[in-house]
């Protein structure tokens, strides 16, 4: 698969280790120092030693027809970011592997130039010399003045960490698709605009020419045509032709397949934008061809109406002309939108890959708990569009099911693509596997595409050869297709799945791929999943030598989704189960049997089909791909084992937590954090934009909470009050101290809805009943003034609804707590040191509580009689037995679960639009006074 083996750089620690074991050490002079930057206080685990930039960044480049590949801008827009990294050089490299079918012009057999609506291509490139790895997203924008009307661009996410690129491929691809879609939408508008102007110009020119010809005709009665007249007539004819051509172009640009846009994931933008698209979309209607689109009018309302110009006969493209900038190409609004999106991408993916992964795992798990997650989590960020691959993770395991070709054919509708030339030239990049070429011939291929295909193939071939002959090799390390070829042999061999030999083998395989001076195409887009089903058939994925085996599989993957109703439920479940089995084996190896027996605590709907819950979290997928050998180079690197280790850790960790050993938990979490310190990136890892601020808050809250439980022996009843929905008032003179306590305690407060936490940090006026409905944790000022006495009077009056923590005298007045849950939640002898660790510990126990509450809430017989005649008492008995025996709750813990269950019910019943009256539940229980 790979050409000549290269010299392996010995900068990677684990390879060095290997060599130390197996081979005699190299002479001193040949060895490369391990950590060249160690002296500068850099992170010794950092793998960026070889890279010349300090952090991940996004690069936008263009293959300019005038000067060739050139970098346009970087995000973040800071010279320091790229450092000594040669952007020009890298642009050249990434632009040289544009696999897009970007043919525009006069296709044979067609009278007019034809626009192609080309899908973006998505590839992963590696440059080991630069120590840079990039996700590269190629796209084409239209420019009337450009050659063939197209301007090839690319956006690249450049990181020193190959794993990040590989594992976040889906997410990157989804995010960049949004950016690209935005650019292209803007570009289409601008292009259409430009065409209209041009048409007006041409029209005007034609009128002028026509008049001139008429005049000449009149003036000339000699009976023969002068050369002038002939010239004029020719000119007129060419203008007419040009008009027809341009009209055709306009029609084409307007007939852009908007149905694609209806696919949900292509809608990242504001309603404005959507509206805009809708407007554009309405132009599809052939009868309506309103030249001034409504969307446009609102965007350009300030623009004066266009006055046409005369077009010179031979105003051919000239090279001294300045090409339009990207901003001009896409119009300002969309350009800024795109920049925003790219900034968003940068912020989302910066930091260490471990961090991103854990974040994704927890997010996906959280998302599964759709009923309970509002209680203790900040669910606002969950609303965001997921990166569209929900089912791939588990269903990708259908890989081994072979007999699905026919399935696919029957299920996936074959759509004949009207825009003929989707077929990408690149499918046939003849790097290797040429023998498989024949297989790749698609039965659906039309005549024209065939020829195009050939042409482009030549073109690309030359291109690549050129680069090879220049002494630098491009290595296609893996595509999804070629990867699947490998899979067959390797994954079958490794079905028992013992990770170590697998890893070893692929390491061997990958060794040679790390070449000194090369661009490595590590992966191309598995992006069929990103395209609507009907476009898939002829999607120009970069390298398609393989017959569409993979496609077929994907067809299968989609099946449960396509016709969930058709499937027999039982069947479905069992299928899913088997899938899970495989997956579990793949991902977490020996631990899988445990995983298959979901603990009762797991947030699973007992009444609903098991499949819902058993779908493993999506981020397993990258790891699993690596294991299957889809990307040979993948396992070769130090972090190669990390994903599954992380996964297993994660799962093991959660189980441990359920057995509740604080120390273990702190261990496992600290492991994660230490793993996170093998940072490929020297920037901090905020990971998710929305939680960036929340992160800091959590850390602080966790720290404060830790201090609180160590400092106050009566932390348990206080926390119990919060968990059971009894408002806790923190009373004190010092605002800062009270606020600190409130922050600390706020992590224990269940949310009542999806809105902000019911926490009020500082109140100075007397409290009312309404406040206890709204707030479950209140910081209250104690003053000595008469007003202060009122405040205290109110407190004493409503003492029934309140627990009062006096921060000044360090006393607490609240009901007794004799349960066990809070003891685990807040052990004052805990070994946990870090605030964020403690926060996670709290989250895990609270999640456990949530799942108990979930089970309790959704068990029908616990709340309603089984038969009509059953007396109420027996239901109550059953309920209490369930709480005590099944859920193992003792004493006051029952009240916590009951309260959470009540919140779940309210949340579930509540109609979306309706705010719902906040209600206050309370108990008549005596309070006690706790002192230090």
């Amino acid at each position: 698969m790979i050409s000549a083996p290269d010299v392996v750089a010995f900068t990677r620690e684990e390879e060095l280790e290997d060599d130390l074991y197996r081979e005699p050490p190299l002479p001193e002079e040949y060895s490369v120092p391990l950590f060249p930057f160690a002296g500068q206080g850099a992170n010794p685990w950092a793998k960026v030693a070889g890279s010349k930039f300090t952090r991940d960044f996004i690069l936008i480049s263009e293959f300019s027809e005038q000067v060739g590949p050139q970098p346009l801008l970087t995000i973040p827009d800071d010279a320091k970011v790229s450092g000594t990294f040669d952007l020009n050089y890298f642009s050249l490299r990434i632009m040289s592997v544009d696999y897009q079918a970007s043919f525009v012009g006069h296709p044979p057999g067609s009278a007019y130039p034809k626009l192609n609506f080309v899908e973006d291509s998505k590839v992963v490139l590696g440059d080991s010399k630069e120590g840079a790895f990039a996700y590269v997203h190629h796209l084409t924008l239209y420019d009337l003045e450009a050659r063939g009307f197209v301007r090839p661009f690319c956006m690249a996410y450049i990181s020193a960490d190959e794993h990040k690129i590989m594992q976040q491929f889906q997410e990157l691809s989804a995010e960049f698709s949004k950016a690209s879609e935005c650019l292209k939408t803007g570009n289409r508008k601008a292009f259409a605009n430009e065409l209209e102007k041009k048409l007006k110009d041409l029209d005007y020119t034609r009128t002028v020419l026509h008049n001139e010809t008429e005049q000449q005709k009149k003036a000339n009665d000699k009976g023969y045509y002068t050369t002038q007249a002939i010239e004029k007539a020719n000119e007129l004819a060419s203008v007419e032709k040009s008009i027809i051509e341009h009209q055709d172009l306009l029609r084409q640009i307007r007939s852009y397949p908007y149905r694609k846009l209806k696919e949900s994931e292509f809608h990242p933008y504001e309603p404005e934008c959507a509206l805009d698209r809708a407007d554009v979309g309405s132009d599809q209607d052939p009868t309506v061809s309103d030249p001034a689109e409504p969307g446009e009018t609102h965007l350009y309302s300030h623009m004066p109406s266009y006055t046409p110009k005369l077009i010179k006969a031979k105003s051919a493209k000239c090279f001294d002309k300045k090409l339009k900038t990207l901003k001009e190409l896409c119009d300002v609004y969309f350009f800024t939108q795109t920049l925003d999106q790219l900034h968003h991408i940068e912020r989302t993916f910066r930091g260490d890959v471990c961090y991103l992964l854990t974040e994704q795992i927890s997010r996906s798990l959280l998302k599964q708990q759709s009923v309970t997650n509002f209680l203790f989590e900040d669910v606002s960020f969950l609303d965001e569009k997921p990166p569209e691959k929900q089912y791939r993770g588990c269903q990708g395991l259908g890989q081994d099911a072979i007999d699905d070709k026919c399935l696919e054919e029957s299920l996936a509708p074959k759509v004949v693509i009207s825009l003929g030339s989707y077929k990408s030239s690149v499918e046939c990049v003849p790097i290797k596997m040429e023998q498989e070429m024949e297989d790749s011939e698609e039965p659906k291929m039309s005549e024209s595409t065939m020829s195009e295909h050939q042409e482009n193939l030549d073109y690309l071939d030359a291109d690549i050869k050129g680069s090879i002959s220049s002494g630098e090799s491009i290595e296609v390390l893996g595509t999804e297709k070629s990867g699947s070829g490998l899979t067959k042999s390797e994954s079958q061999a490794s079905l028992p799945v013992i990770p170590s030999p697998q890893a070893g083998r692929s390491k061997v395989g990958s060794r040679r791929t790390v070449s000194e001076d090369s661009i490595e195409v590590l992966s191309t887009c598995p992006s069929e999943s990103l395209i609507p089903e009907d476009f898939k058939a002829s999607y120009p994925s970069a390298i398609n030598e393989e017959p569409y085996v993979d496609d077929d599989e994907r067809g299968l993957r989609f099946t449960p989704r396509l016709n969930p109703g058709v499937d027999d439920g039982q069947d479905d479940v069992s299928k899913q189960e088997s899938l899970v089995q495989v997956d579990a084996a793949c991902c977490i190896g020996k631990e899988s049997p445990n995983f298959l027996e979901p603990l009762p605590e797991l947030g699973q709907k007992p009444c609903e089909e098991d499949g819902v819950v058993r779908i493993p979290p999506q981020p397993y997928r990258p790891a699993e791909q690596g294991l299957r050998g889809g990307f040979p180079s993948h396992d070769g690197l130090s972090g190669g084992l990390l994903p599954y280790e992380l996964d297993s850790r994660y799962l093991a960790g959660s189980r441990e937590v359920s057995k509740s050993s604080l120390d273990e938990c702190s261990d496992s979490t600290s492991y994660i954090s230490s793993a996170a310190s093998t940072c490929s990136d020297r920037t901090p890892s905020p990971a998710h934009l929305a939680c960036a601020a929340g992160e800091r808050h959590r850390k602080r809250a966790g720290q404060n909470a830790l201090r609180f439980i160590r400092q106050y022996p009566f932390a348990h009843p206080a926390i119990y009050s919060l968990l059971s929905g009894r408002t806790l008032v923190v009373l004190g003179e010092d605002e800062a101290m009270v606020k600190k306590l409130v922050t600390a305690l706020s992590i224990f407060v269940p949310n009542c809805g999806v809105y902000a936490k019911p926490v009020k940090h500082w109140v100075t006026s007397p409290l009312h009943l309404v406040d206890f409905q709204k707030w479950k944790l209140i910081g209250l000022q104690r003053t000595v003034s008469p007003a202060g006495v009122n405040v205290l009077h109110a407190l004493s009056r409503y003492s029934r609804y309140l627990s009062i923590l006096d921060a000044d005298s360090k006393t607490l007045r609240c009901p007794l707590y004799k349960g066990t849950v809070v003891a685990r939640l807040a052990d004052h002898r805990t070994q946990i040191k870090r605030g964020s660790t403690y926060y996670m510990h709290v989250q895990s126990i609270l999640t456990q509580l949530c799942s108990k509450a979930f089970l309790f809430t959704f068990c029908h017989h616990l709340h309603l009689p089984i038969s009509e005649r059953e007396p109420e008492e027996s239901v109550v008995n059953r309920r209490m037995n369930f709480l005590k025996l099944q859920l193992g709750l003792a004493n006051e813990d029952i009240k916590i679960v009951q309260y959470l269950a009540e919140l779940l019910k309210l949340h579930y019943i509540q109609e979306p639009g309706q705010g719902g009256n906040p209600l206050l539940r309370f108990d008549y229980v005596p309070s006690f006074l706790y002192k230090i």
């Binding site: 709907k605 009444c607 609903e608 009373l731 009312h768 009943l769 309404v770 409905q773 006495v789 205290l792 009077h793 109110a794 407190l795 004493s796 009056r797 409503y798 003492s799 029934r800 009062i804 006096d806 000044d808 005298s809 006393t811 007045r813 809430t857 959704f858 029908h860 709340h863 309603l864 089984i866 009951q898 009540e902 019910k905 309210l906 579930y908 019943i909 009256n917 209600l919 206050l920 539940r921 309370f922 108990d923 008549y924 229980v925 005596p926 309070s927 006074l929 002192k931």
Partner: protein, 459 residues
């Protein structure tokens, strides 16, 4: 509690321990109300709550706005604007003609000297009458006759279509403070210290004409009559500001029995009359009277008294039931009694039979049979005798509801649905049985699950 808060760390020592008001700890097993909903909307004191049907009620107060609420969900159904001053009286008027379907109306009277009839189904104003010379202070609907009466400085009789059928002459400037329906087409109106009985006669000529005639004036009360309530077809009860309670025969309007000196206690049974009168009138005023078949329950000052009609004496009392005047009491079917007070609390009492002989007998000075014309001492002795051979009762505090920050003006008992209280703090609170609500929510949840097709029952 308060002391603890102020003192910061000392043992909590309830203020209640020292006060004579009976208190109940936080352990209230019998109190079913463990959930509450606060209904906000009013901008001034809420004085009236009136039930429309099984699950709706209306509230009105000094802001002149009438709100219609759903008693189950606490949902605000309508907000009725029309009055410019505070509401002085409100009465439900559900009318069902043979032809029409049943319409729920409410009639409201306001200090702006108007009366408006509202349709509760549509939330619209049906009609407005503004021909009054004075504020209408009370409204009564005579369902039997399909007419309603308004009482101000005069008494007017209206039919359903708001036609004035007849009216009395100007009575007093103070006006009628209470009206109650009596048998034989009669009504009793409390006008100051007097109780005036009116009779409605069908006029001879018109089909729907009525004449109203003053039949009798009863002047037995020494002070203004503050409450007037009908017990059954044969009896009605009045209470006055100085603590007189008189039981009347509803047919011949004679005094059956009377009770006064409610404020008195066994501690000083022989205090002089002058001293009694010097007591603050609020201490002895009969604020509200309610009854069931057997007993009349009177809210007198801060206390609650249970007067047995058969035995013609007070059988149980709680002299200081609240910290402040009791404004409204109501008897529940289950031997329970609810009272609300100016101190902002609502208390639930249960009438219980005392097992052993009373350690502290009911004050003897309470009992006075005017009808027999006996001397005080004899009466006392008779009472003592009675006590010995009849079972003793007492009012046990079984729960209190603390929520309002100001006087609780009135409450409305909705049975299973709970209890609505209204207060001077502009709020209405719906108190609910938490257990019941919880199971209702479960029911709703499984209904919704079933609707979504997510429910799988495996038996």
């Amino acid at each position: 509690m308060l002391r603890w808060l102020i003192g910061g760390g000392r043992e909590p020592q309830g203020l209640a321990e020292k006060s004579s008001v009976q208190t109940i700890g936080e352990d209230q097993i019998q109190n079913p109300y463990t959930e509450l909903l606060v209904l906000k909307g009013h901008q001034d004191i809420v004085r009236f709550l009136v039930q429309i049907d099984d699950c709706r009620f209306a509230s009105a107060g000094d802001d002149g706005i009438i709100f219609l609420w759903n008693a189950q969900t606490g949902e605000k159904l309508y907000e009725l604007h029309g009055h410019t001053h505070k509401i002085t009286a409100i009465a439900p008027f559900s009318s069902s003609d043979g032809t029409e379907e049943k319409t729920d109306l409410i009639i409201t009277a306001s200090a702006d000297r108007t009366v408006i009839v509202w349709d509760c189904t549509s939330g619209r104003q049906v009609r407005k009458v503004s021909c009054f010379h004075s504020t209408v202070k009370c409204l009564t609907v005579l369902q039997r006759l399909n007419v309603w009466l308004s009482g101000g400085s005069d008494l007017c009789v209206w039919n359903r279509k708001l036609d004035l059928l007849c009216k009395t002459s100007h009575l007093t400037d103070a006006g009628i403070s209470a009206l109650v329906e009596l048998p034989k087409n009669c009504v009793a109106a409390a006008v100051g210290k007097e109780l005036i009985i009116f009779r409605l006669n069908a006029s001879s000529n018109g089909s729907e004409g009525w004449n109203v005639l003053e039949v009798k004036r009863l002047v037995d009360h020494q002070d203004n009559i503050s409450s007037l309530v009908s017990v059954n077809d044969l009896t009605f009860v009045t209470g006055s500001h100085v603590g007189e309670l008189i039981v009347w025969d509803a047919l011949d309007w004679t005094k059956q029995a009377s009770e006064c000196n409610f404020w008195d206690s066994s501690v000083h049974p022989d205090v002089q009359q002058e001293i009694k009168l010097s007591q603050s009138p609020n201490e002895t005023s009969v604020q509200h009277v309610t009854s069931d078949e057997e007993c009349v329950f009177a809210a007198v000052g801060k206390g609650i008294y249970v007067y047995n009609l058969q035995m013609k004496r007070v059988i149980a009392c709680q002299r200081t039931a609240h910290d402040s005047s009791v404004l409204h009491i109501e008897k529940l079917p289950n031997r329970q009694l609810i009272s609300c007070s100016e101190d902002g609390s609502v208390r639930i009492w249960e009438l219980r039979e005392r097992q052993q002989l009373p350690a502290e007998p009911v004050p003897t000075g309470f009992f006075n049979m005017w009808g027999f014309g006996r001397a005080n001492k004899q009466a006392n002795q008779a009472a003592k005798k009675m006590q010995e051979n009849t079972p003793m009762y007492f009012l046990e505090l079984v729960g209190d509801l603390i929520g309002h920050s100001s006087a609780v003006q009135m409450f409305l008992y909705f049975g299973e649905l709970g209890l609505a209280t209204c207060s001077a703090d502009h709020l209405i609170i719906l108190w609910k049985d938490g257990e019941r609500e919880s199971s209702l929510r479960s029911l709703a949840l499984f209904k919704k699950l079933a609707q979504n097709g997510d429910l799988q029952l495996k038996l």
